[in-house]
């Protein structure tokens, strides 16, 4: 396993004047409500351990108040933790001096905000070049880099507009261009698409995935929207009341929720669109001989979603398809298994339990 880009260990955050003193109560198992009533302190995060791999999109998902925005602000220490360790490229962020922290924020992490947070008195191009101006690069480099990335996010020609002349979606493109111009390995995206309307949000998600296939940044993405989380995530972390309830590969979480809370969560989504053939298929050895014996209705790609396969089969559950990755057959998928996978497991509320 490669060295994680960001490693968070035993992170606690308590909001209040005497956070260090009440930490022992939390470690002893005191809950959020109790802490608020007895000590007038708010529990932000408890016992967070997360590894974020280089080149992956790590999505942190949770409802309002679950501490996800607090968590992302710990990575560049916009919020100071009560206890715990944060490593970026193996370096302890908590031990950085003020200048070291500034250089971390300038050169290794950039951030995209829910409310865009652009400078209203600067043009789009000046906003995009912000990080380079902070670092004191010369004007032509600022202009060239900013233009390059504005073009890349589809804002060529808007360089001399002011942010409030643009729509929300375009403003967030400027926000993304600003983060890309900083040319950092890590991008922090705090509910970056939550303020946008659904169609534009889909566009922006596609843009992000497209950029990611090209740039391979380590992205930490915060969202409260499960569909968005499943679409973007390589690694999904689900937070509830400041603690991690489950983390792992998103398809795995969807098929094997570990907690009633997550089961409720995943029961509402369109599984056919989110689940991919690879997560549902029966894996087979290439030379197992089964491939030769079975009669397949056709080949499907491992990365296809179930929706496309249902459309292809015309709703007939009698088919069995061969699954290929590249040119290599890696397994088979029976339409009957596919249909079973579409039914969510609902154990908390009773009802039909499909294991």
């Amino acid at each position: 396993m490669t060295e994680p880009k960001v490693r968070i260990r035993d992170l606690y955050k308590i909001f209040g004047a005497h956070d260090k003193d009440v930490l022992q109560h939390v470690k002893a198992g005191m809950g959020k409500e109790e802490l608020l009533v007895e000590h007038k302190h708010v529990l932000g995060l408890q016992d967070i351990n997360v590894d974020m791999q280089p080149g992956e999109i790590t999505v942190v998902m949770g409802l309002s108040g679950s501490g996800k925005s607090t968590l992302i602000r710990h990575l560049n220490r916009l919020i100071e933790p009560t206890a715990g360790e944060i490593f970026v490229d193996g370096e302890d962020v908590m031990k950085l001096s003020e200048a070291g922290l500034r250089s971390l924020r300038q050169e290794r992490m950039s951030m995209v905000f829910q409310k865009f947070a652009l400078l209203p008195h600067r043009t789009v191009q000046q906003n995009a070049a912000m990080s380079l101006r902070i670092r004191g690069r010369d004007e032509t480099e600022q202009a060239n880099e900013a233009r390059k990335w504005l073009d890349r996010v589809g804002l060529g020609g808007y360089e001399n507009h002011y942010p409030n002349q643009l729509s929300g979606g375009m403003q967030q493109r400027v926000g993304i261009a600003r983060a890309l111009t900083a040319n950092t390995d890590i991008m922090l995206m705090d509910e970056a698409f939550s303020a946008l309307d659904p169609l534009i949000r889909t566009d922006m998600q596609d843009l992000l995935l497209e950029l990611q296939t090209e740039l391979h940044k380590s992205i930490v993405f915060i969202t409260h929207d499960l569909d968005e989380a499943l679409k973007l995530a390589d690694h999904l972390v689900i937070l509830k009341d400041g603690a991690v309830v489950q983390q792992g590969e998103p398809q795995g979480i969807l098929l094997n929720p570990s907690d009633p809370y997550i089961e409720d969560f995943v029961s509402d989504i369109n599984r056919a669109r989110v689940l991919r053939v690879k997560s549902v298929m029966t894996a087979l050895e290439e030379n197992s001989g089964i491939f030769a014996k079975t009669k397949y209705s056709g080949d499907v790609k491992a990365t296809d979603n179930l929706e496309s396969l249902i459309a292809r089969s015309g709703g007939d559950t009698g088919h069995i398809y061969r699954v290929v990755e590249g040119d290599k057959p890696i397994g088979q998928i029976d339409m009957r298994d596919l249909v079973k996978a579409l039914v969510p497991r609902v154990s908390s509320t009773g009802g039909n339990v499909v294991k």
Binding site: Q106, H121, S131, I134, Y162
Partner: protein, 343 residues
């Protein structure tokens, strides 16, 4: 026999009081009472234990008049020390005021009036405002109030300039430091509510009435308040999301102040400057009591000699100046605001 004699006797303080016989000077009220044949004892049955009433029973307790005298003596005792410190510090203010007055008076009108009109256009970028400014100045000059109007304008320019130069940094410091804000706000409240004549009194003691810094300080003390308040407020009201973004991209304190906080607080700061101009204009009239030249002198003449016409013309002149200064600075403020609200 005074009312409180018994108490001092009971406490055994007769010796300290000096036998109870008051040798303090007789007050005018007592004198009147005596001449009317009354006795002090025939006052209220139970007088409030004020300093004067206690003094009648015990000579060692001071009278109220000694309190005011004490303040005066204390101030006069501190005056030489204060003067040695304040005089050199404030001297440049005198030079500035004298210089500005000299400049505004000696530059001939045919250069000065176009220059002012151009300045108004540069600040407001509004033809209507500029035409109004031109009309007002020409009207004032037409009734031979050009010189006094220029004197008033010179004083306002200098005092507003210094108020902004001092007030904006103070406001910035206040916005960064809650303790400082808690300390400064009561002082600002005091400056704003204290009747303006009250702080003229100690100033007259400190500086001679012939020095221009006397009225300069009075005007600045009065007019600096809004620019401090609104700078502090403006910076505190800057969108915290944008400030967070500035932090997240690693701006240092200076970059954040110059690149984010001041530009975003500019509309509020400009509103403060507009108020500062208005308040220094209000004060320049009162300052004519302590030899400030300008339109105020004519107003004062109108009051003293009951010259109704002189007073009213000067009053209208002040109103005209107030309106052109207000409209020009407001137009400048709107222009700054528009630059970011254009849609």
């Amino acid at each position: 026999m005074a009312f409180y004699d018994g108490i001092f006797k009971g406490l055994g303080l007769e010796g300290w009081c000096g036998g109870g016989a008051s040798n303090a000077p007789v007050s005018m009220a007592d004198l009147l009472a005596q001449s009317n044949g009354d006795d002090a004892a025939s006052g209220p049955a139970f007088p409030f234990p004020s300093l004067d009433n206690l003094n009648e029973s015990c000579a060692s307790i001071v009278q109220s008049r000694d309190v005011t005298k004490g303040i005066e003596d204390g101030f006069l005792a501190a005056k030489p020390a204060l003067k040695t410190v304040l005089d050199p510090i404030t001297q440049p203010l005198s030079w500035l005021l004298d210089g500005a007055l000299y400049a505004f008076e000696t530059i001939p009108w045919f250069i000065m009036i176009p220059a002012l009109i151009l300045l108004a256009y540069w600040a407001s970028r509004s033809v209507a405002v500029t035409v109004f400014v031109a009309f007002s100045i020409l009207a004032l000059a037409f009734v031979d109030h050009y010189d006094v109007a220029m004197q008033t304008l010179a004083i306002i320019f200098v005092c507003t300039g210094i108020s902004v130069a001092l007030g904006v940094p103070i406001g910035i410091a206040m916005s960064k430091n809650d303790t400082l804000q808690r300390m400064v706000v009561p002082i600002l409240d005091l400056l704003q509510t204290l009747p303006t004549f009250v702080y003229l009194i100690p100033l007259i003691f400190l500086f001679s009435v012939t020095e221009s810094k006397l009225y300069g300080i009075a005007i600045i003390l009065y007019a600096i308040v809004p620019v401090i308040r609104l700078t502090d407020l403006g910076i505190r009201l800057v969108d915290q999301d944008v400030v967070e973004a500035a932090n997240a991209f690693g701006m240092n304190g200076r970059q954040k102040l110059m690149g984010v906080e001041l530009p975003l607080a500019l509309p509020n700061i400009m509103a403060g400057i507009n108020q500062t101009i208005m308040m220094s204009l209000a004060m320049v009239v009162i300052a004519s009591l302590v030899s400030a030249p300008g339109l105020g002198v004519n107003v004062l003449r109108g009051i003293r000699n009951l010259e109704l016409g002189v007073g009213i013309v000067a009053g209208i002149g002040i109103v005209l100046l107030a309106v052109i200064l207000d409209r020009t600075s407001k137009a400048a403020l709107d222009r700054v605001d528009m630059a970011r609200k254009q849609r």
